[in-house]
Symmetry: D2
Subunit: 346 residues, 4 copies
C-alpha cells in the first residue's frame, strides 16, 4: 500500500479525492488537512463519507511525509507555500491553477500578479494523461488540468494534432455546473438566484483560456476564444467548440482522426449516434465517473466542425484526473479506483 495525504481536504475536490482514495485498492489515506475542520471526522464536511471511515481532519501543521501529496488549496496558496509542501512527498499532484502554465508571463497576464515561484514551473508536468502520459509517469510534480480546460482540450486535441484546427479561430462555449465555484456560499450561489439560471459569467478573459491555448498550441498559444455559461447543474462541464478548417474534411476524416487519437484511451469515449435521446456527450451521464465523452458534427455546407465534450468537473476535471495521474506516477493500472461507470437515469 502506498500512502497519500490530501492538503485542503474540506472542499468539494478534496471530498471527491477522499472518496476515491477510500475506495482505492493500492493507496491508503495518510492524512487529510483542513484548518476549519481540524479535529472533526471527515463526514462533517463530506456527508457522503458517513460511516465509511474514522479518519479526522488535521491541521496542515501536523503533516508528516507520505508517498503522494495531493494539494487542493485555493489558487495561489500552493505556489506561495511551495517550499514547505515540496519536502512532504516524493510525488505531488496539485489541483490548483498554480503550476499549469509554463510561461510565468502568461501566468501574470491571466492571474494579475507575478508567479510566486516561477522557477518551479518547469518541474511540473501538465496533468492531462491523454496528452502527456509518458511525462506524467516519470514526473515528480503534476499540475492537474482545470475542469473547463480539460473538457475543451480533450474535445479539440485530435483536430489540432491532425492539423485540422488552429489556422482559423476556434470558439469554445462551456456550460458549467455550480460546483465549479467551490464550497463557499456567496450571494450568486444562493439557491433562489442560481437555480434555473443561464448565467454568463466569463464571456471573455477566462483563465482557462491560457491552459487551453498552451495545450493545443504547437509551441505557441493556439488561438482559442472561450466563454462560459453557468447552467442548472451541480456537477459537470460541457464544451461546445466551433472549429473552422482551412482544409475540406469529411465525416470519415473526422472519425479516423478521433479514433486514432483515442482508440487506446481508457477514459475517453467517442459518443456520436444517429438516433436516440443521448446522441452526443452529456455531463448528466458522467456524474461520478472519470470519463470524457467526445462527439462531433460536420456542417457540410460551411465546413464548420462542432465538437462537444463533456466531463464531471469534480472527477475528470479535478479529483478523478488527479488519481489517474497518481496511478501513472506510481506505476499502477491507470484505472484503479476510477471504474465507476455512472448512473442513468439521474
Amino acid at each position: 500500500m502506498w500512502s497519500a495525504s490530501v492538503v485542503g481536504a474540506s472542499g468539494y475536490a478534496g471530498g471527491e479525492l477522499l472518496r476515491l482514495l477510500l475506495g482505492h485498492e493500492s493507496v491508503s489515506i495518510h492524512q487529510a488537512t483542513s484548518e476549519s475542520f481540524a479535529g472533526k471526522p471527515l463526514a462533517r464536511a463530506h456527508p457522503h463519507l458517513r460511516g465509511l471511515t474514522d479518519l479526522r481532519f488535521e491541521s496542515a501543521e501536523a503533516l508528516t511525509p507520505a508517498d503522494v501529496l495531493f494539494c487542493c488549496l485555493p489558487h495561489g496558496v500552493a505556489a506561495a507555500k511551495w517550499s514547505s509542501l515540496a519536502p512532504l512527498a516524493e510525488r505531488i499532484v496539485d489541483l490548483s491553477s498554480d503550476f499549469r502554465l509554463r510561461d510565468p508571463s502568461v501566468y501574470q497576464r491571466y492571474y494579475g500578479r507575478p508567479h510566486p515561484a516561477p522557477e518551479v514551473l518547469e518541474k511540473f508536468v501538465y496533468g492531462v494523461p491523454e496528452l502527456h502520459r509518458d511525462a506524467i509517469r516519470e514526473a515528480r510534480f503534476v499540475a492537474c488540468g482545470g475542469c473547463n480546460a480539460t473538457a475543451a482540450i480533450l474535445g479539440l486535441y485530435p483536430l489540432f494534432r491532425a492539423g485540422l484546427a488552429g489556422e482559423e479561430r476556434t470558439v469554445i462555449e462551456v456550460k458549467a455546473g455550480s460546483s465549479e465555484a467551490g464550497r463557499k456560499a456567496t450571494p450568486s450561489s444562493h439557491h433562489p438566484e442560481r437555480s434555473g439560471a443561464v448565467r454568463s459569467f466569463a464571456l471573455t478573459g477566462h483563465r482557462h483560456t491560457a491552459e487551453i491555448a498552451q495545450a493545443l498550441g504547437n509551441g505557441r498559444p493556439a488561438e482559442v476564444h472561450l466563454s462560459l455559461t453557468a447552467v442548472e447543474m451541480v456537477r459537470g462541464a460541457a464544451a461546445t467548440s466551433h472549429v473552422f478548417s482551412k482544409e475540406r474534411v469529411t465525416e470519415v476524416d473526422l472519425w479516423r482522426t478521433y479514433r486514432e487519437a483515442y482508440r487506446e484511451e481508457p477514459f475517453v469515449r467517442i459518443v456520436k449516434e444517429r438516433q436516440g435521446t443521448h446522441r452526443y456527450p452529456d455531463p448528466k451521464l458522467l456524474a461520478g465517473t472519470n470519463f470524457a465523452d467526445v462527439g462531433f458534427e460536420l456542417d457540410q455546407d460551411s465546413g464548420r466542425i462542432v465538437v462537444v465534450s463533456a466531463i464531471d468537473n469534480l472527477m475528470k476535471g479535478a479529483s478523478g484526473q488527479a488519481v489517474q495521474c497518481m496511478n501513472l506516477m506510481l506505476g499502477l493500472d491507470e484505472t484503479t479506483g476510477l471504474r465507476f461507470t455512472g448512473l442513468h437515469p439521474l
Copy 2:
C-alpha cells in the same frame, strides 16, 4: 373591442396567447380551436386558465370570421391550408415557420420540401417589430420570428446594422428550455432523461439559421453559424454570439451602437452591469415577460465581441411577439397586454 381567434390553441404557444388575450383590454377572444380538445373548457389544456373563462375549444371547422386570426399550427400546416385560412380574417399572425423565409429555395433547403404556397411568401412581413415596425403596422399578414432566431437577431442586429459584424464569421450558441419542443411527450422529453440535461440537439443545420441569416444579411444571407444546446429550464432561450469585427472597436462604440438601436424600444433592455449576480441577460428573469434583454462584452486583446441575449421563448419568442405585432397592426399601444414585468426570485 376587436375580436381575435386562435387556431391550434391547445399547444403551449396557444395557451400563452389565450392568457394574453384574456387580459387584453382592447381585444376579446372570438374562438379557440383544437381538434383533440374540441368541446372542452380551455383550462383542460391550460391549467393556468382555471376559473378565468367559460370559453371552450371548438373544431377549426366551426371558425367564423374575426378581426385577427392567430395560427399556432404545426410547421407546414398553415401553408398547406392557406386558402381556407386566409378568408377568415383581415389580419393574420402566423406563429409557425411557414412564412418566415422570403426565398422559397431557402425554405426547400432547410425544410427539405418545396414550399406549399410560395406565392404567398412575399405578402408576409417578418414579425420582429424591432426590425420591421413600420411594415408590420401596414401588414395584413405577419410571420412571427422564431424563438431562437429572435433571441439571436435582437442580440446581433445593432452590430450588423452598424457594419461591426458580418464581414467575419459569427458563431451563435443558443441555450434552450424544454418548452421549445412543444407539448407532445416523447422519449427525449421524458423527465428522467431531460431533467438536468445539457443536450446538444442541433449542432449544425438548425432551421432558424435561415431566418437569422435573412434578417441580419444586407440583401444576401449573413454568415452565421448556429448551434443549440438544451439545458435544464422550461421557458427561455439565451443566445451567446461571438462576433469578430474587422474594425477595431471600443466599449464606448458598442454602448453607442446598442443605445442607438434600442433607445426607444419598449421591450429591449440593455443589461450589462459591473457587479452583482445578474450582470448579463438571463432568461430566468424573463419568464412571462415580453422583454428581450441584451448585453455584450468586448475582448480587448482579440477584438472578439461576445453578445448575450435572452428571451422567454413562449413570449417574445412566440405569443408575446405575436400580440405585439397584433397591437401594431391594429394601431394600439404596442405594449397593451404585455406589461407583466417578471418574477424574482423564481
Copy 3:
C-alpha cells in the same frame, strides 16, 4: 391615489411588494427603505424591476408619513421598533411574525423570548382575508399570515369550521421552496447543497404551528402537527394535511363543505379533477399569482381526509396577501393589482 411605503424593501417579500405596487392602479410607492441599499436604484436589489422605475432606496430614518406602511423587517424588529413605526401611517400591514399571535405566552413559547410589545397584539387583525375579511376592512393594523400557515389554514379551514376536523389529531406536511429562507446566502442555501434536496428542516416545533392552531382552533388551539420539507423549488408552498373525522363523511359532504366556504372567494380555487396531469393543487402553477388552490381526497376505507393546498409563498404567503389586505383596508376592489393568473408551462 393612495401612498404606500415599504420598510425593509430589499428582501424577497419587499421586492414582490414593490413589483405589485408599481403595477397598482390606486396606490403609488411613497418610499422604500433599505439600509444596505440606501441611495441605490430599486433594481440593484430586484433585477426584475429593471427599467420600470427611477425610485431609489432610502434609509428608514428618512421615512415620512404615508397612507399605508408595509413592514418587511426581520422577525422581532417591527415589534421592537413599534413606537417609531406606528406614527408613520394610519394603516400598517406587517409581514413579519411579530404580531400574528394574540397570546403573548404562546409567542414566548414559540419564539423563545418575551414579546417586545405585548400590549399591541390585540390591536392587530390576523391577515388572512378568507377568515377575517370584515375585521381587516376595519383594521388599522394587520399582521399577514405566514406562508406555510396560510397554505395549511386555507386547506383546513372549511373542515374545522364545519366540525369535520379538530377532534382527532391533524398532521400537516408542508413542502417548501428555497425563497422561504429569504435572501441571505448561507451554507445550507448554497446551490450545490440545496439543489435537488429533499431536506427535512423543521420536523417538529415549527413556529407556524402556533398560527395554524390559533386560526383553526375554536377559542383554544387546535391540535395540529406540522412538519416541513424543503424541496427543489424556489417559489411555492404546498401543504398535505391528514384529517381524521369522528363523523363518517362522503365526498359529497366534502364538496359541499369546501364550496360553501370558498364559493365567493376571489383567490381560492378548488382543484380536484378526475383525470389529466394537474388533478390537484401544485405551486408550480401559481408562481406570481395570489391564488390558493385547494383540493381533497377521501379514503373511503379509513375515513381519512387528505387535503392539498398550494400557494406562492411570496404572493399569497406574503406580499400578495399584504396587498389584498391593503385593498380591503382602503375600500378598494380586493383583487386590484393581483390579477396575474400564472404561467404554464414554467
Copy 4:
C-alpha cells in the same frame, strides 16, 4: 462465477441491475431480455453502459437456465407467466409487486383483480433483508420490497418492533422522484409539466400501503396511512412518518431503539445531527448507493415521533435490494457489488 439473467432488462430497474451485475465480482450476466431491444447492444437502452460490455439484448424466448433469474417485468406479468419463468433458475428474484403480498384477498383489494397464481405466494419471501435476512438466505424465491414501501418500512420498523408504534394511527408521506414511474414517456412525465412539480399523485389508496401494513403488522395489518407527492428529483424516495405513541418516550429511548435495530446493518445508517446542512436523511446523498438513511425527531410536547427515511428508489428500492437479496441467497458477502458510497455534491 454464478450466472444471472435479467428478464425485462430495458427498463430503469433493469439498467441498474445490469450495471450492478457488470461490476459484481462473483456473478456474471448470462442473458438480458427485452422484446423491443432484442438484438441490440445493452447501451442502446442504457447509455451509462456505453463501452462496458458487448452483450446484447435477447428475446425472452431465447432464455436458457441460469443460477439466478431477476424478473423486472411490468406488474402482473411475472405472475401470469410464472409457469414458464419458474423452471429457468433455481433462484428467482422478482422486482415487481406480483409476489409481495401473502394474502391473495389483499392483492385483489389493492390491484383490482384476482391474483393470477395465488398458490405461489407462500413460496416467496418478502425481500427486505433487514426484516427477513435468514429467510432470504434459505429462499428460492424472493419478492423485493417496493421502493416507497422499503423507505417507509425501514424508517418505522424499529418503532413497531419495540411496540412504540402501531397502537395509534401512523401517517406516512413519501416524496418521490420521477424515475419511479418508469421509462415510458407520458403526458405527465413530459419535462415542461413534471419539472419543478410538487404533484400529489396517490393521496389515498397507494398500493404500497398493503406491503407496509403487512411488513409492520404483527400478524394483522398495521394501521398506516400513506400519501405520495412527486417532487423535482429523478432518483430517490424519502418518507416522513408521523408516529403517535401511547407510551411516553424520550430521545434516549429512541436512540436505543434504532441502534438496537440497525447496529449490524451494512446498509442502514442513522442520520440525525445537531448542526450542519445535512442533519437528516436526504435522497440527494444516496444516488447510486444501497443505503437507507434513517433519522427521527421527538416532539416533546405532543409525544409525536417524526421519522425520516431516504433511499435511492432504483437501488435500495429496487435493483440494489435485489442484488443484496441475491448475495444472501448465494451465500456471498451481502455487500458485494453494492459498495458505491454516493456523490456529494450532486
